[in-house]
């Protein structure tokens, strides 16, 4: 058996190599300044929207923008930062994988003189990023907890679906929610399970929970994907009209579902506002501005059928 590649494969590979190197030369030759968008994951529409909005705004401001996907892995993120530093980008619009783990990566960029602007997720350091434009998950979940309590008249059985149990946002949302609901002894959490922020998993988990607890009154889900999955399980069980479903994010499907009175509420985050502010700040930094607020909290707003007309997917009308 021959182990050597056939000649035509070699030629194709060589050709590809030439094409790629030429592309690279072209970019540096164009003389445009460059912004990197580093996002925790592209496996979730919410983050895709965040990254695309940031890149689009950077392009509109006259920069070359490139998106890097960290695949929820802080080590991959570190590799991206090293490549970005070597490639000589002028600013980084950054959505971190981990509040503590990502600090070292940001400090690397800072040492290389590249400003980092955090979007949505906080990093636990005040001297690393130039500015952090953050989604206030905890307070948003508190608002949901209050609406939830009121809708249920302070009593009833409910289920909580958690996101990935190793994720900071999972617990910020869960804790915010429980900081309200745990004060009411009439509200009883009969089951708490993880569905990994995943629509299909949420549907399966909810189907099983409904077997054990057929008479629940509400479900609180850590994101909108899980809320849709839980809702579908309730529809299949013929209980959709009796059980109130809450989500978190403000994604398209849930906004539509709230309009149709299928889902009771969600926490609207503003990825567009965060991404565009970050791009604007980066532009101003490159043009000379240096005094930026370390943290800008972007409130998460409660969306229910009452105020749904003010909102569209991922933002306000």
């Amino acid at each position: 058996m021959k182990r050597v590649l056939p000649l035509y494969v070699k030629i194709v590979l060589l050709g590809l190599l030439v094409v790629f190197t030429q592309c690279k030369q072209k970019k540096t030759a164009s003389g445009k300044k460059k912004m990197a968008v580093v996002v925790s994951t592209l496996n979730n529409p919410w983050f895709v929207f965040l990254a695309e909005t940031a890149a689009a705004r950077a392009t509109a401001l006259g920069y070359d923008a490139k998106i890097f996907d960290s695949q929820n892995n802080t080590a991959t993120e570190g590799d991206h930062f090293e490549n970005i530093i070597v490639a000589g980008f002028d600013a980084i619009l950054f959505n971190s994988t981990d509040a503590n783990g990502s600090v070292a990566n940001v400090l690397k960029a800072k040492a290389a003189g590249i400003p980092v602007f955090c979007m949505d997720r906080e990093i636990n350091a005040t001297n690393a990023a130039t500015s952090q434009i953050l989604s206030d998950s905890y307070s948003g979940a508190v608002a949901i907890g209050m609406s939830f309590t009121q809708q249920l008249n302070k009593k009833g059985n409910y289920v909580e679906l958690l996101g990935l149990v190793g994720d900071n946002n999972t617990w910020a949302r869960s804790k915010g929610f429980h900081s309200v609901t745990d004060n009411y002894p009439g509200l009883k959490m009969v089951a708490r399970q993880s569905a990994d922020f995943d629509r299909n998993k949420a549907m399966e988990v909810m189907e099983s929970i409904l077997q054990a607890h057929p008479d629940i009154d509400a479900v609180f889900c850590g994101n909108d994907g899980m809320a849709m999955g839980a809702y579908q399980a309730l529809v299949a069980a013929g209980k959709a009209s009796k059980v109130k479903v809450y989500g978190f994010d403000g994604a398209e499907d849930v906004i539509t579902a709230i309009k149709e009175n299928k889902v009771a509420g969600t926490g609207m985050q503003f990825p567009k506002v965060m991404a565009e502010t970050a791009a604007k700040f980066a532009d101003e930094y490159i043009k000379g501005r240096r005094n930026f607020p370390q943290k800008i909290p972007v409130a998460v707003e409660l969306v229910t059928p009452k105020n749904i007309n003010e909102y569209i997917a991922y933002g306000k009308k």
Binding site: M1, L42, N43, N44, P45, V48, F49, E52, L162, V165, V190, A191, R192, Q193, S194, D198, R199, N200, M203, E204, V205, E207, S208, I209, Q211, A212, G225, M228, G229, Q232, A236, E252, D253, T256
Partner: protein, 325 residues
């Protein structure tokens, strides 16, 4: 002589997994009175339908001493292709062309796409002698990337009530996904037990060189097997998409591991040549029962993964013990 020996091992392996399954069910039933109900039974069967489809394809591949790590990504891509074609059709503004798809057309397109992706796996494996582990690992990434490109990272939702019948409907008192999975199992069992292709599959996994010497065109058999596995992943993808009324770009992540677990628990040897479709179905049921039972008992999500891993180990160890005797 050889045939008799093979049948004995298969029966024994299946008996062991059956014992494991019954024990598991008994434990859960004692702890939760909701477990042994008709509703919950359908629930479990409906939930495992997707894994059964994928695992059947995986079994055929593992029987030839191969492996397919790309099934989860292929599932996502084919589900997304079906959903996209159904919802948006193909638009080519430059040529002023629009092609709409009926449900049947979109389903066929998705399944054909799956078969082609599987065929490509087989092509790389047979033509360039790339080990299946590596070839399908590459496809895992490629198909996931293509899914992202096709969906632009956003779910394709609201596919209409007619399409959702595939995942949520009932026919003659049995959920539609269970019908589909059942038919897949019957056809695959027939192929492996009664046809020449089935005998070739076992022969290649048992001893590839001997198979070549006895005149079997092993490349052709492998191409067929990988194409079937791809098509079955597509069927799974269509069921997931229909159930959720939405094609999720990250659907099927990690499904290859569930499929391999079902195959292994079912007593199929990863080195090929030994095993059966029936065993794999048993393996898939064990995993499904476990997922369902742990939630019914409200076991903490932290512990669930530990328990799942431990049960897989125990099932396989019992199986090994049975074979030694």
């Amino acid at each position: 002589m050889i045939a008799i020996q093979k049948n004995n091992t298969i029966n024994l392996a299946r008996l062991q997994s059956l014992i494991a399954l019954v024990t598991l069910c008994a434990i859960i039933a004692i702890l939760s009175d909701k477990f042994l109900t008709m509703d919950n039974g359908w629930n479990v069967l409906r939930q495992i339908a997707v894994n059964v489809c994928i695992s059947v394809g995986m079994t055929l591949i593992v029987l030839t001493a191969g492996i397919d790590l790309s099934v989860g990504s292929v599932l996502a891509l084919c589900g997304a292709i079906t959903a996209g074609l159904l919802k948006n059709g193909i638009k080519m503004p430059s040529a002023d062309l629009f092609i709409g798809f009926t449900i049947l057309g979109a389903l066929l397109a998705g399944i054909i796409a799956g078969a082609l992706l599987g065929w490509f796996n087989g092509f790389v494996i047979t033509k360039f002698k790339v080990p299946p582990f590596v070839a399908t690992l590459a496809m895992l990434t490629i198909a996931r990337g293509l899914t992202m490109l096709w969906t632009q990272g956003h779910p394709i939702s609201n596919l209409g009530p007619a399409f959702s019948v595939i995942g949520t409907g009932w026919f003659l008192g049995i959920p539609v996904p269970v019908w589909i999975a059942g038919m897949v199992v019957l056809i695959a069992s027939f192929i492996t037990r009664q046809t020449r292709l089935g005998r070739y599959i076992y022969a290649i996994g048992g001893n590839e060189n001997a198979a070549i010497l006895s005149g079997i065109s092993i490349n052709k058999v492998k191409l067929i097997v990988y194409s079937i596995a791809g098509a079955l992943a597509a069927v799974g993808g269509i069921m997931v998409t229909s159930r959720l009324d939405s094609a999720q770009p990250n659907a099927g992540t990690g499904y290859e591991l569930d499929a391999i677990a079902a195959v292994v628990i079912g007593g199929t040897s990863l080195s090929g040549g030994k095993g059966s479709i029936g065993g794999t179905v048993m393996g898939a049921v064990i995993i499904g029962v476990l997922n369902n039972g742990l939630v019914l008992l409200n076991v903490s999500p932290f512990w669930q993964q530990v328990v799942k891993g431990a049960v897989i180990l125990i099932a396989v160890i019992i199986d090994k013990g049975g074979k030694k005797k």
